[in-house]
């Protein structure tokens, strides 16, 4: 089935979305913002004993319900658009406004410096459904940071949130002080504390970072995770091609050239990289009632965020609506940096309809570790690169989703719109 009718796709997305929201809120339509979480409904029971005192010239106070604003099904989250997140790479040179950053040379090395803050923020995971998250720079997933192999990541981290946090990188890090765990270096950072992490960007690949505070499962599922991309250095690939293949045979000149070309296509500083449409997806999930199991699943936080919303059928989506498929140019090579942040469930997966792709586990090789597959699975913190070619497909909608059917129907169901 090369494409399906836009209206019926929109109907199915709508129905599933509605069912999900109803199951979470017990309401058939979301008439007010519904805040879910273990700390209670915001505006309900007062949390704590007071500190920032509003010394207003008033003589009465009433505990009125905060949050009865917003239309049915509205996303009030100003700062997170799953479509913007897909292609938001922070390189030090350029990136998101909420990630202060710079790039400079130091001791013969390129330093890519980022400022990270941890905050307790409220995010929208389905229309009208909010989740009380802990987040790096106020977003879930956290910002995607990107460097070239051999560069230095310098992450100036300040914890402003209520709980103690760290940043633990899944990189080949040679200094135990920089590992971002409670037992090493500065340990956990309490509210108001800062630490500058420094990690050499190695090995080339797609990697993961997360908070390593205890209880780990809570700090991860609340939203403290993100993607690190380390672009291969084509010159290093030319010198050490064997580091980039899981293949024991001879390295011919042809193979060496092919690997160098592949490295250029992966390296954001090379023109060859511009020809590839690159996307970051983090498979995540939310335990909205804090019972140790997930109620909502997604790629990049928003349940059905890449589903089918309102359209005229010609690829023109309703302005301002974040619910729409990922539109891709069939003549462009597609690359997804995929990782799995899902807590509680043992694995997650990525499945494409009517399509096979090449998979590079951890992205550390320049030849695929799984060739011509339509489904791969990842355990938590596993990640990899997916390369997809739609050039011979007819235009239309092509679904991709977790092939845990349960996850798909609880939000992790998405579409590419090939044009």
């Amino acid at each position: 089935m090369p494409s399906i009718d836009y209206d019926s796709a929109a109907d199915v997305t709508e129905r599933l979305e509605q069912r999900l929201v109803e199951s979470l809120t017990g309401e058939s339509s979301v008439s007010r913002r519904t805040v879910l979480g273990g700390l209670g409904v915001a505006g309900g029971a007062a949390v704590g004993l007071g500190s920032s005192r509003a010394s207003a010239s008033s003589d009465h106070e009433d505990e009125d319900e905060h949050g009865n604003f917003g239309a049915v099904g509205e996303y009030r989250d100003l700062d997170f658009d799953p479509h913007e997140f897909l292609t938001a790479f922070n390189t030090g040179d350029s990136g998101q406004d909420n990630v202060p950053q710079q790039v400079y040379e130091e001791d013969g090395r390129t330093v890519r410096e980022f400022e990270f803050t941890a905050v307790d923020t409220t995010i929208t995971i389905a229309p009208g459904v909010e989740f009380q998250a802990w987040a790096y720079n106020g977003q879930v997933p956290g910002p995607t940071i990107r460097a070239v192999e051999g560069d230095l990541f310098r992450v100036k981290f300040t914890n402003l949130g209520r709980h103690a946090h760290t940043i633990h990188p899944h990189l080949k890090n040679l200094n135990p002080r920089m590992d971002g765990i409670p037992q090493n270096g500065p340990g956990v950072l309490d509210t108001g504390e800062s630490f500058t992490y420094e990690w050499i960007a190695q090995p080339a690949g797609t990697h993961f970072y997360h908070c390593h505070s205890l209880p780990l499962k809570e700090h991860i599922h609340r939203g403290l995770y993100g993607t690190i991309i380390v672009d291969p250095d084509p010159e290093r690939v030319r010198e050490n091609p064997r580091d980039y293949v899981n293949y024991p045979g001879p390295i011919t000149d042809d193979l060496r050239t092919q690997l160098v070309e592949e490295a250029k296509s992966r390296n954001h500083e090379y023109a060859e990289n511009d020809a590839v449409n690159e996307m970051v997806m983090v498979m995540n999930s939310f335990d909205t009632n804090f019972d140790g199991g997930n109620e909502v699943y997604a790629a990049n936080t928003r349940a059905f965020g890449y589903g089918v919303g309102d359209t005229d059928g010609n690829g023109n989506w309703t302005a301002g609506e974040t619910k729409r498929p990922i539109q891709i140019d069939k003549n462009e090579r597609q690359r997804v940096y995929l990782s799995n942040a899902t807590e509680f469930d043992l694995i997650n997966s990525f499945h494409t309809h009517s399509q096979f792709f090449d998979y590079y586990d951890h992205g550390t090789t320049l030849t695929p570790t799984r060739k011509t597959v339509d489904t791969i699975m990842q355990t938590q913190a596993q990640r990899g690169i997916i390369e997809i070619d739609y050039s011979d497909h007819e235009p239309g909608l092509y679904m991709f989703h977790a092939h845990q059917s349960e996850f798909a129907e609880l939000g992790w169901m998405s579409f590419f719109e090939v044009v």
Partner: protein, 101 residues
């Protein structure tokens, strides 16, 4: 520290033209940041740090922080209901309302 994450009082009622002063009586930093979609249409945006939009305030969190013992004040010139929050502790329930009569 559960006692460091709320506005007290959570809802304050004042007359048009009056000034509200927030004093940070805790030992950690907070912000006072209006929800852009929860203030009257004709009212100007307000936030500690002097930001002109919620997005700017969220993007540059550290510039809006009110240190322990410090104050932030704002004068409300239009009647209506104003929702606001602390950026670092929003999901810990640190939200408040000003009613301007």
């Amino acid at each position: 520290m559960p006692d460091s994450h709320r506005f007290e009082p959570k809802t304050a009622t004042i007359e048009t033209g009056e000034t509200v002063t927030w004093t940070n009586e805790s030992d950690i930093e907070h912000t006072v940041t209006a929800y852009e979609d929860e203030i009257p249409d004709e009212a100007a945006y307000f936030a500690s740090g002097g930001f002109e939009s919620e997005r700017a305030a969220r993007n540059r969190i550290t510039e809006g922080l009110i240190a322990p013992g410090e104050k932030y004040e704002y004068t409300f010139d239009h009647p209506g209901t104003y929702g606001y929050f602390c950026i670092p502790h929003e999901s810990s329930g640190m939200v408040g309302t000003i009613q301007v009569k």
